[in-house]
Amino acid sequence: MKMSGAQMVCEALIAEGVTTVFGYPGGAIMNVYDAIYKQSKFEHILTRHEQAAVHAADGYARATGKVGVAMVTSGPGFTNAVTGIATAFTDSIPLVVISGQVPLSLIGTDGFQEIDAVGISRPCTKHNYLVGSLEELPRIMKEAFYIASSGRPGPVLVDIPKDITAEMGEFVYPKEVHIPTYKPSYKGNDRQIKKAVEAILNAKKPLLYLGGGVVLSNAGKLVRELAALAQIPAVETLMARGVMGYENPLLIGMLGMHGSYASNMAMSETDLIVSLGARFDDRVTGKLSEFAKYADVIHVDIDPANIGKLVDVDYPIVGSITDVLEKMISLLKHSVKPDRYQAWREILARYNELHPLKYDDSDEVLKPQWVIQRVGELIGKDAVITSDVGQHQMWVAQFYPFDRPRQWINSGGLGTMGFGFPAAIGAKRGVPEKIVVNFTGDGSILMNMQELVTAAEYKIPVINIILNNHFLGMVRQWQTFFYDKRYSETDLSFQPNFKALAEACGGIGYDVTTKKEFDEALKDALKQNKVCFMNVAINRFENVLPMVPAGGALYNMLLEHKDK
């Protein structure tokens, strides 16, 4: 069929099963927006900032497992999108981002709103394309979706010059992709898997180290099956919260800089790490030379470059976690003796009794941990939880009762303040039957607060709980601990009226200072079913504990902070 390049973009999106696109128009992408206007197969959500469009597509992808799609114009539209693209890149989230570009004839002339999008995005995309002709457009669209969602997922940028979207041509959407240079391998090597299983059988203190890759490859069920079968305890990274489920007796907790005592000690004392979709990030390992000194390492990852990058690996296995776990489980089924690890499980249980995650509740002032646990009690499994970046993010990761993968959505790798609210909008669009709550800070929320308007217009009832400490709290905590309380540029005493702000944009606002007010506000928010800001005043100087000081050994945790 003959059609314009702009129509081809829409037809490709439809062929890929896309139902929601997040974006923002402008000169170079207008032809595509004209084609969007004329179709009715997918909806377009107009965010109020391109960064938010990409975060929304990202939240949609994380909540559903599908590819998220965002669309922006050239120049500033694209550069605004870069933080969103980089955020998705560092957490391996499948996105296709379509950007307009100046016409081919103007490329290289410093034309109006011309910027080298493929140049800028090269280090923060899995792959990118500058479309060079109409003929290659359908193939590139097909490849973009395939590359984004296969192997180790990631964002793919398709930059399309304006004249190509205007040009008419024959549209044939390829059924398959042929990229001779890209063949991700999913099947783990059988011999390696067998050796790894033998190592598990011979270990005394094996430990499952679970990362975001488990979520990405939808392997949560298999992980639980393996753990249950062999009775091996597990620690989760920030990105893997929910994989084991909070009620699972084999879950020790979250490890890393703000991990639990038992989790970090488990990692420090294990004799065999079974790493599944984790990448030994510095926020997890602490000082590398002191990390897991007694352990052999089984490292399962779909990306060979992750294996052996930071930690020496004894049993490298490249493949999808699903494939590898299926094989491991069938091998272990007849040979594993769960009693062998009984003593180890008891040690870890004792560590958790010795130093459980804890906080001092108060009757005078709300504690963030109480608020988070309260949300867990009241809506627990019914909610999908997003967060911004800072102390509140760590408290949510520590204290919310996550019970399944994809219930917890946050920017782990890049740590992007401003991610939470737009990601929540995208997540709610992806899983509308769930309640979506964004835990945020008084700093972070202002970085994408304009999305109140989007959420109000499209009736996307995201509940934003602002854990308001009147500080850039995480930075303030470091200043308290390591900079002699010189609170350089972290005091946010000057504040907007959050309640009025929400109302001005078509949402609801609540000011909360007591437990009773919180319960009432949450109840009302659930009933009203409208976007809201819940401004919750919390203890200003609350710290996230335990803490492994940056660069320190994982087993050297600050368990409490005594004010000098």
């Binding site: 280090p123 500058l130 060079g132 990229i179 240079t181 060979p304 470059a305 052996g308 990058k309």
Partner: protein, 156 residues
């Protein structure tokens, strides 16, 4: 860990931004490039990059893995057993002793490729190490300009 010199060949799609992808990877991850040559592979839509780099074993392993990870990369060849050659062009003043220069060149697989009124140009193609020897020997004849071509290599 000990630093080693390595010659790495990359076979990649011959498309517009592939050189930027390869060199950007080195720049962004802080890997070192001693020399880099690129040319299309005849009768194909592929290019061959020959990169000389330095690093400890872990770094070299990461370099090859990251290069492999590029969507445009077909193959990465990292061998100790490579036949490698480098070309160099040198300009001398015509006032220098041409016979001596010629003799020196022939000891290193080279010769005079151009002779003008004021200068002569010689070309040498040899292993990088021998190129170094040649260049230090050639100092005697006051070279005006030296242009090195970078290493090309092929598996034994």
């Amino acid at each position: 860990m000990q630093e080693v010199r390595r010659v790495i060949s990359v076979i990649a799609m011959n498309e517009s931004s592939v050189l930027a992808r390869v060199s950007g990877l080195f720049a962004g991850r802080g890997y070192n490039i001693e020399s880099l040559t690129v040319a299309p592979i005849p009768k194909s839509n592929l290019s061959r990059f020959t990169i000389v780099t330095k690093g400890n074993a872990k770094v070299i392993e990461q370099i090859t893995k990251q290069l492999n990870k590029l969507i445009s990369t077909l193959k990465v060849i990292e061998h100790e057993e490579m036949v490698e050659k480098e070309m160099v062009l040198i300009k001398f003043s015509a006032n220098e002793s041409l016979a001596d220069i010629k003799a020196l060149c022939s000891a290193y697989n080279g010769g005079i490729v151009n002779a003008g009124e004021n200068s002569v140009i010689v070309m040498i193609a040899d292993e990088s190490k021998r190129i170094e020897y040649f260049l230090s020997a050639a100092q005697r004849y006051n070279p005006i300009e030296i242009v090195r071509g970078g290493v090309v290599a092929i598996e034994r």
